[in-house]
Symmetry: C2
Subunit: 427 residues, 2 copies
């Protein structure tokens, strides 16, 4: 089969007419589907309903505290143990937060701006001196990470995300060259959006590289740390790797159950080296008396132990796998061999990342929207919303029911073709 | 009866010996009671247990959203309506937060430091220029408010708290005189610790006074807004008063159910003028996707409406009233007419504020602690922990069961006498 990208002008013109008429037919259907965000489907949420309907078996923590009352800044011991066991992190390096790891990341970044860390200058002080600090942003990446930087006045430097993690040659070169480069965002497992899993070597290089800034920090958002769908992937322990490299306080590790139990009613946590943990607890002490211990208990009573979480994740994967199967098979069916699109083959996580030929992402998303399918905005996966190639689109298959997902993908693939063919005709 | 303060040296010496021997007898008992914080007793928390044991009747919000899933930055509509009705605040001026109004206050203050407000210079920029901003702190007051200022590098200026609110002559003079004075902390009803309720006149003066700073802000922590124990006290609507005075964005209003349902598992909210609310929502958008909507639903399903909250508060008051009665009667019984102590007569709230003769608060707290009763640290009710008179002590009667409270108060009064008599002997 000849790739569409190799079509003659005549062939393209004929194909455009055919696709345009198909597209008009789709518009008639009046679809109204939303695949903009990585939202769990109702069927996924139902898997955790027992946690809500059963009520709490006891209000006491294992050390005898009444979880209904004030107290416990950094989380009840059994909750720390549950997640410590799940993630292989010593409990004394863990702080349990509220319902949102994003909120913990923002708060951490805000503290660095306000106070600095380990005796270094507050990052806002750099900005007020006209020399804003900078962050490395492996791209495509998670738009809400980029929003945090933008809100706090931290300049973003895009770095390529390769098959096994960020382009480490580039990361090492940049980190060593500029003391205003203060850190890097990482989603190390089943990354948002491509599903990249960091190799051991990348983890080691991040942990041990030379940085011009003494307060260089890795924001390690392990959002999909147990979200294996097709294949269980191991991730090297970065806390340990940093410690061994003599950079114990280089990494802030984040995790949450937002996509395990309930988005917005889950449990978030952070972990770091001893010096950072002491610093964070001291700062938190001015911010709150403590987070929701009843919800911590609810999670512990429901899961019991790490094995309970892992079993639950298998059930979740069984819900998600058919949707990923469908997205990938629709892409193959409609776009395989056309030359108009490439896509990731994630082993887990929440997304499939696709790339149009240059200059077609925005138009594809616009066409889909006009026919009733809302996708993540084109460009959202890049700092400042600027995809230099205008080619990356994030597909979030989790929310729609299967029949709707099938429709949405058929339409999406049509839009990719239509936008692609029109782009080729411009030449 | 002759006041002890009028005793001769011989009388004082004899009394000291008698009190010291009584005190030694108390030490033998090995008490271990904690009245340090305003923690609800288990019996108070039990009143809300249904909210936990019953499970949720439905996961849908009234506008059809699945509250288990992502979304809704500023709170579900029925939750805004519940508290709007309770507090007399239009719902579009309300933002529902997480589990802690303290956290909302800290975050608000942190945003002012990082970003400023309504186009004015960020407060941290003042600090980095060597001219830190300042806050007025009616004292005695709430130690955690002072901790927020201290943590964020905001200088505190104590202002006297009178019978009907802060000393407004002083507040007006200071606010008008210095553009670095950026705001004031207020607990306007049943204040922590004295139970002061602000008069309408004070509210009006705060709302309309001239301030040198365009970004002068009132942090209005209405923590005890519905916590009437002896008498229902009305509070003038400061949001409306500010609006009428042309200072719509002068006040940030805070409230929570921490002392209504569960500390740490309640619902917090803030309210302000339209300009501030828009600004806060924009900033929050970088911080979180939304707070715990299931807990919002839990509260709405349990209370149903404002009347439900008011009824619940009557039940809570019935739990608390005997404890306040006991504190006040023990003070009268042991210390009335001695000249060694004065105390507040709160109409509601969570505390009784007492004053020793100058220079005795620290020693009283030390003596009580040594005999097994932990009180709030002396000085905690003043900025930087510095009570200029060393006389104020906050009594928190809520947590102990009645028998323990009786014991604790007997011992406390003895310690007041012992410290007082020894101080008199120093002269």
């Amino acid at each position: 089969m000849k790739e569409i990208t190799a079509y003659s002008r005549e062939e393209l013109t004929a194909l455009e007419a055919k696709l345009a008429s198909e597209y008009d037919a789709w518009k008639e259907k009046g679809l109204a589907l939303n695949m903009a965000r990585g939202k769990p489907a109702a069927a996924q949420l139902d898997l955790s309903n027992e946690m809500l309907s059963n009520g709490l078996a006891s209000y006491k923590t294992e050390d005898g505290l009444d979880a209904r009352n004030y107290g416990v800044l950094d989380g009840i011991p059994e909750c720390k143990r549950l997640f410590g066991e799940l993630l292989g992190i010593p409990t004394d390096q863990i702080i349990i937060g509220g319902n949102s790891s994003l909120n913990m990341m923002y708060d951490m970044m805000a503290r660095l701006c306000l106070f600095g860390t380990q005796g270094e200058k507050p990052w806002k002080a750099w900005e007020f001196e006209g020399k804003p600090v900078k962050f490395l942003c492996p791209s495509p990446g998670y738009d809400r990470h980029f929003t945090i930087c933008e809100a706090l006045g931290i300049e973003m430097i895009p770095v390529k995300l390769l098959e096994d993690g960020p382009d480490m040659d580039e990361v090492e070169r940049l980190a060593a060259s500029d003391e205003r480069i203060k850190g890097i965002w990482c989603v190390p497992l089943h990354s948002n959006p491509q599903g990249v899993c960091y190799s051991d070597q990348v983890v080691d290089r991040l942990a041990s590289m030379k940085t011009a800034a003494a307060d260089f920090r890795i924001f390690w958002d392990n959002a999909y740390g147990v979200h294996h769908i097709y294949e269980e992937v191991a991730l090297k322990d970065i806390l340990q790797a940093c410690k061994e490299a003599g950079n114990e306080n280089r990494v802030y590790y984040f995790f949450s159950t937002s996509k395990i139990t309930f988005p917005g009613a889950g449990i978030a946590l952070m972990a770091s080296g001893a010096g950072n943990i002491a610093e964070v607890k001291k700062a938190m002490n001015a911010q709150t008396i403590g987070h929701d211990k009843l919800n911590q208990l609810r999670h512990v009573q429901y899961f019991k132990n790490a094995e309970g979480v892992r079993k639950h994740m298998k059930d979740l994967a069984a819900e998600l796998r058919p949707k990923f199967d469908m997205v990938l098979s629709k892409l193959e069916e409609h776009l395989g061999g056309t030359g108009l699109m490439t896509w990731s083959s994630p082993k887990g996580g929440y997304f499939v990342s696709v790339d149009t030929i240059p200059g077609c992402a925005k138009e594809t998303v616009r066409l889909a929207k006009e026919a009733g399918v809302t996708l993540t905005g084109a460009g959202a996966t890049y700092p400042y919303g600027k995809d230099p190639q205008d080619s990356n689109i994030r597909i979030a298959p989790s929310f729609p029911v299967p029949e709707e997902l099938a429709q949405a993908m058929d339409l999406f693939c049509l839009c990719v073709k239509l936008a692609g063919v029109r782009k080729l005709l411009e030449k």
